[in-house]
Amino acid sequence: MRGHGRQHGLGYLIAFGATGVGLLLRRFLSTDVFGIEAPLYLFLFVVAASAWLGGLKAGLLATTLSTLVEMYFVLAQDGWSTAEPLSRLRIILVLFSGVAISWFTELVHRSRDRAEQQRESLRITLDSIGDAVITTDAEGRVVSLNPVAVTLTGWTQDEAVGRPLDEIFHVINERTRQPIENPVKKALAEGRIVGLANHTVLIAKDGTEHPIDDSAAPIRDAAGGIRGVVLIFRDITERKRLYQQLQEADRRKDEFLATLAHELRNPLAPIRNALQILRWAGDDKKAVEQALTVMERQLQQMVRLIDDLMDVGRIIRNKLRLRLEQVDLVTVLRNAVDISRPLIEAAGHELTVTLPAGPIYVEGDATRLTQIFSNLLNNAAKYTEPGGHIWLTVELEDKHVVIRVKDNGLGISAEHLPHIFEMFSQVERSLEHSQGGLGIGLTLAKHLTEMHGGTIEAHSEGQGKGSEFIVRLPKTSSLPALQPPFAAPAESRAATGRSKVLIVDDDEDTVTSMSMMLRILGHDTYSARDGLEAVEAANSYRPDIVLLDIGLPKLSGYEVARRIRQQPWGKEMTLVALTGWGQEEDKRRAREAGFDYHLIKPVEPTALEKLLQDLHSSSA
């Protein structure tokens, strides 16, 4: 059963009722009034009413009943065979006309249903579209609005229909606040699809504004005449917000690049000055000493910057890895304080550290944990006016250790607070308050804390009211496990008073400086510039130790190590890999290639000295 209002039960009831009424009328109406055909009219009316109201089946039922009734009358008077031919014809007529009327009525019903279905499906479709749709007639008067259009314009369908579109679709330019020409008029006038200008704001009936994006297209009939316009528009608040976010990220990236250039240039200035001093100082020992100290300090500064940069790269690529072990947080915090102390003291800040007496164990990467807290302490030192106060406190909660780094410094405005941990965000960028650094310290601190399963929060009452950073780390109850040794123990080696060291690097300056350093330390050195030369030199020079760069021309450092290890004379040599990457993966590859040790460039002179000493004592 398709059409509404027609139901089987009701249809049949109507058929019975109508036939009953017909029967009564036929019984009591004088045939004088209608003539002999009266029953025919009556029954046709009965069938038509039943079919219209009750559908095809009701019509057919009424036809059947009417035929039976007519037959009854005919048969009651005469037998079928003795009946007048006209009466017989009447019965047949009733039957056929009834079927025909029922069928035609059904056809009308069906086409009416189809049209209604199409209208309904169009309505449902328009109602379901996420965009607002308004249709108008050829005069630009509103014909329909879908629910989104109702929401955006604030006009209901009933209020809007029949009004000129201008009244309900009020658009202005976002910047000039001047009304914009209604796109529907243009679409009607020009007969083509009209897209709207940028920065359009729709003003709703109640005055609320939505940035929108729209287009108007003429509706054409089969002959190509314009019947109206369909206007489609959508709220682009969210898209605009995303676009602004992107722009902001792009701006911050540009600023970061400028800051990066600035921060990398800065330490270079004193290094160049110091180099010139070395050239000019002559015998002035004090000047030379001072120049060297400066160079070392500023070089360290650059290495730190580049380390931070590499960490940022790792975070972005999600490649940062932790070496988890049981770590005493108190030791970590002491180390962090040691790292940040020069900066804190330089600014004349007072530092109050409150630590528990015993160790607190957490599962973590000691280096990375130290980095979190030294970053927070450095931050406090930088963003506090000289002579300020910094507090570092540790509290134990049920399952967490809570570390607070608090200062009475510049504070953070409510506007900046939500973005403080975002990459490259620096609160102040004026020429007077540039605090140096890349604006990634807090980002690193946040990522590292989260990688340790902890949380970090920033609090500040506002500008000039100091800030507080709170780190929560999960506590572990288990006892610390023994640390695995850094590398395999050194192989025994003939004790000679000093070592023969082969230095392999394609960078001339690295080779020269390392040779100088090792000679000063009392060792013999020999050098090679590429992989093949290195293998030959190892054979002819037979060093105790080979310092091998990994990225070498001709043969990689890994390959050189493998070839040396294959030789009978190469089994006992100590092979040290020098690389710019301190990744676990690099260390593993180095071990597999036959290296005993792995050092990260630039090699700390003290680290190299210690390594050589260790080798000596283990071989002695």
């Binding site: 200035a269 160049r272 120049a291 300090r297 020429l431 308050h433």
Partner: protein, 139 residues
């Protein structure tokens, strides 16, 4: 020549100061903007080498103040900065500097500029052309 150096990076300021002394100049060093200005009043330098990003008062403002206080013809003011010279924040200070050197600055260039300045302070006749060449490099 009397040369005043100002940079909030102590290492940079000190090493530049040492170098200038080795070159035979009389040098004073300041680590922020206001101290640079105060020192300049007492020291009356022939040349001032200013970092731009400094706490309290930036190098640009120091330069503008110096140009107002001193006979601007007689004092050579050089910016030595790690900032991009095209940074829009620096535009308003451009006129206050006779030259802009990027960190790490070419020390030969610095020597040339100072030598130019010395010749000007010795012979006032040559002031105008010398200044033009210096100012030309600043833009």
């Amino acid at each position: 020549m009397r040369v005043l150096v100002a940079d909030d990076n102590k290492d940079t300021a000190d090493t530049l100061g040492m170098l200038l002394r080795l070159w035979g100049h009389e040098v004073r060093v300041a680590y922020d903007g206001p101290s640079a200005l105060l020192l300049a009043c007492r020291f009356k330098p022939h040349a001032v080498l200013l970092d731009i990003q400094m706490p309290k008062m930036n190098g640009g403002d120091v330069a503008l103040n110096l140009k107002r206080q001193f006979n601007s013809e007689k004092i050579l003011i050089i910016a030595i900065s790690a900032s991009d010279p095209d940074d829009p924040r620096l535009t308003r200070y451009k006129s206050a500097f006779d030259a802009f050197l990027c960190k790490p600055c070419e020390l030969e260039r610095l020597q040339e500029l100072l030598a130019d300045c010395r010749s000007r302070t010795v012979s006032y006749q040559s002031v105008a052309p010398a200044r033009n060449t210096v100012a030309g490099t600043a833009s």
